[in-house]
């Protein structure tokens, strides 16, 4: 009991501190400050783009994972879940070494087309996708494994070819899993800090998302940091409340 209460307090106290010490009279102005709007807009743009990319790439990846077995599956699974356990800063360094100007892929890209990825909005999106996509892949894969294979067999026996089976049967049946996976992925992308600041830098208006703005503001104008933190807290709470049924179902 005591330990459980201590555990709860560990979660509760910081939140209480955030709310209690919020300079409420300054929250309003901080909220409408142009930097805040820029950071918020950028955060939404980057996290939604990352979620979109994760949907396009993650669903096929989940299909691949669900349809392989044995060693190959173990390897694929380890690869896709690695970003979940990797410290995001390390992820950022890795991304830099791959896509940086002298990186594995970045160097030829720069040499051939003059394209430079790091320290752009695209880099922020890539960093967020890297960190958040595993959440989507895992949720969709779990959904696929829970899917009764006979739905697809029935569809095939009714004459539906591969693509039609996928679009008309598999995908609609996976909708709940895709939805909860996408929300988890989006929430993770929204809060992304380490990989973004390492790979995309902290450029206001281009790569400075809310978490980065909070970190920077903490040094110069703490009330702004608190205001921004409250925004993220509100968004997270809204997601939790909106998803409570699915969330519990998924976990």
């Amino acid at each position: 009991m005591v330990l459980a209460a201590a555990g709860l307090l560990l979660f509760l106290l910081p939140l209480a501190g955030l709310v209690a010490r919020a300079p409420w009279d300054q929250v309003g102005p901080a909220l409408i400050a142009p930097e805040t709007a820029t950071a918020l807009g950028l955060s939404l743009f980057c996290s939604l783009s990352a979620t979109a990319v994760a949907l396009v790439l993650g669903i096929p990846l989940a299909l691949l994972l669900a349809r392989t077995s044995g060693t190959l599956r173990a390897v694929l699974r380890a690869l896709t879940t690695l970003p979940m356990v990797l410290p995001p800063v390390v992820g950022g360094v890795a991304l830099l070494l791959a896509f940086g100007r002298r990186g594995l892929v970045g160097a030829p890209l720069y040499g051939a087309f003059g394209i430079q990825i790091p320290f752009t909005t695209a880099a922020a999106v890539i960093a967020e996708t890297f960190v958040a996509m595993p959440f989507l892949v895992i949720a969709v894969e779990a959904g696929l494994r829970a899917l009764d294979p006979r739905y697809e067999e029935a569809a095939r026996a009714l004459g539906a070819t591969g693509w039609r089976v996928f679009a008309r049967v598999t995908l609609p049946l996976l909708r709940p899993a895709i939805f909860s996976g996408a929300v988890l992925c989006w929430a993770r992308a929204l809060g992304e800090f380490g990989a973004t600041i390492t790979f995309a830098g902290d450029l206001p208006g281009r790569t400075q998302t809310i978490p980065l703005a909070v970190y920077v503001a903490l040094e110069t104008r703490p009330e702004g940091a608190i205001a921004l933190s409250l925004i993220l807290l509100a968004v997270s709470l809204a997601i939790l409340i909106g998803m409570r049924d699915r969330w519990l179902g998924w976990l």
Partner: protein
């Protein structure tokens, strides 16, 4: 139209080796205990599992492992009805039935539903249907695609006993209007006898017996069929006027023949006595009533002893004999009641 299939496949410990010829308009029921390979056989015919062998439907080769030929499920004119309907839960009844249709699908689907008296359920979602309705819709969804081969995988076993009869009638009606090849997998003998022209009994992946329901039940060749027909099945060596059972006991029977034989004794031909009976019966031995089971007007008594048998007696005989689980009795079977045929 006809089906000619030779199917061999191996999976882990299980091996399936079946030859099956079915002509159009014929309903074949594949019967067998759980794990006999019935569902695997259906899945192989549907092209859902790879096989060794050859499947030919109406002259079209669907599978020929020797020639490396395999027609995928979606290009076979094969319809499957699963045990528990497997209707697409996110589509209406109408969309489910229309799913397999190419042209004018809504109109044709509606006609099928109307003909089956399910027109008023067209816009319902599958979860709003009763179990019986859902299975009828599933049957229509498959029939609407006009398959040449119809595979029914225990279509009634997921239903309540109360509605099973109703759906069986509907199934029987729909089957008689269907002109392709029909294969029904079931472990329910009543379902098989009610719907099928021919039984194929599958055990451990092999066909152990096939023929009309009457032929199969008259001459069981396995414990499964004997149980299904409700008779005692024994096996031994024919010795002219008696059979030597594996236990060493001699069972008198006219025309016992010679070699490996089966002997069938109907439970009603097994007589029970409290003391050694005098007179004609040549097969008399001691037994012990292991358990009693009231079935309708008769009591089935499972006996252990020199020859383990099931006897069927009247409730009044049970009282007169003071029969109870554990009671010692004399068991008698007239030699003429033992029917013998080669194994």
């Amino acid at each position: 139209m006809s089906l000619d299939a030779t199917i061999r496949l191996k999976r882990d410990e299980f091996a399936l080796d079946v030859q099956l010829k079915v002509s159009a308009g014929e309903t074949v029921a594949v019967l067998g205990p759980n794990g006999a390979g019935k569902t695997t056989l259906l899945r192989a015919l549907a092209g859902l599992v790879p096989i060794n062998g050859r499947v030919e439907l109406n002259g079209q080769v669907l599978d020929d492992s020797a020639a490396g030929r395999h027609v995928p499920t979606e290009r076979r004119r094969v319809g499957i009805v699963f045990q528990d309907h497997v209707l697409f839960p996110h589509m209406t009844v109408l969309d489910n039935v229309a799913f397999g249709l190419r042209h004018d699908s809504s109109r044709i689907a509606r006609e099928w539903l109307d003909r089956a008296g399910l027109g008023d359920r067209a816009s319902a979602m599958p979860r709003e249907l009763s179990g019986g309705q859902a299975q009828r819709v599933a049957l229509i969804r498959t029939l609407a695609t006009e398959p040449h081969l119809l595979l029914l995988d225990e279509p009634l076993s997921a239903l309540d006993v109360t509605i099973r009869a109703e759906v069986r009638r509907e199934l029987s009606r729909q089957l008689s209007g269907f002109h392709g090849v029909r294969i029904l997998v079931t472990h329910d003998p009543l379902e098989a006898i009610a719907l099928a022209d021919r039984l194929v009994v599958l055990e451990h992946g092999k066909v152990v017996q096939s023929g009309s329901p009457a032929e199969v039940t008259a001459r069981p060749r396995s414990r499964f069929v004997a149980d299904l027909a409700g008779v005692n099945l024994l096996r031994g060596q024919g010795r002219g006027d008696h059979i030597e059972l594996a236990s060493g006991t001699a069972l008198a029977a006219p025309e016992a023949g010679d070699g490996d034989v089966f002997a069938v004794i109907h439970p009603r031909a097994v007589a029970l006595y409290t003391s050694r009976p005098e007179g004609t019966p040549r097969n008399v031995w001691r037994g012990r009533a292991e358990d009693l089971d009231l079935q309708g007007e008769r009591v089935r008594v499972r006996l252990s002893g020199a020859v383990p048998l099931v006897a069927e007696v009247t409730p009044s005989a049970v009282r007169e004999l003071h029969l109870d689980a554990g009671a010692e009795v004399w068991v008698a079977v007239k030699a003429t009641e033992v029917s013998v045929y080669p194994a």
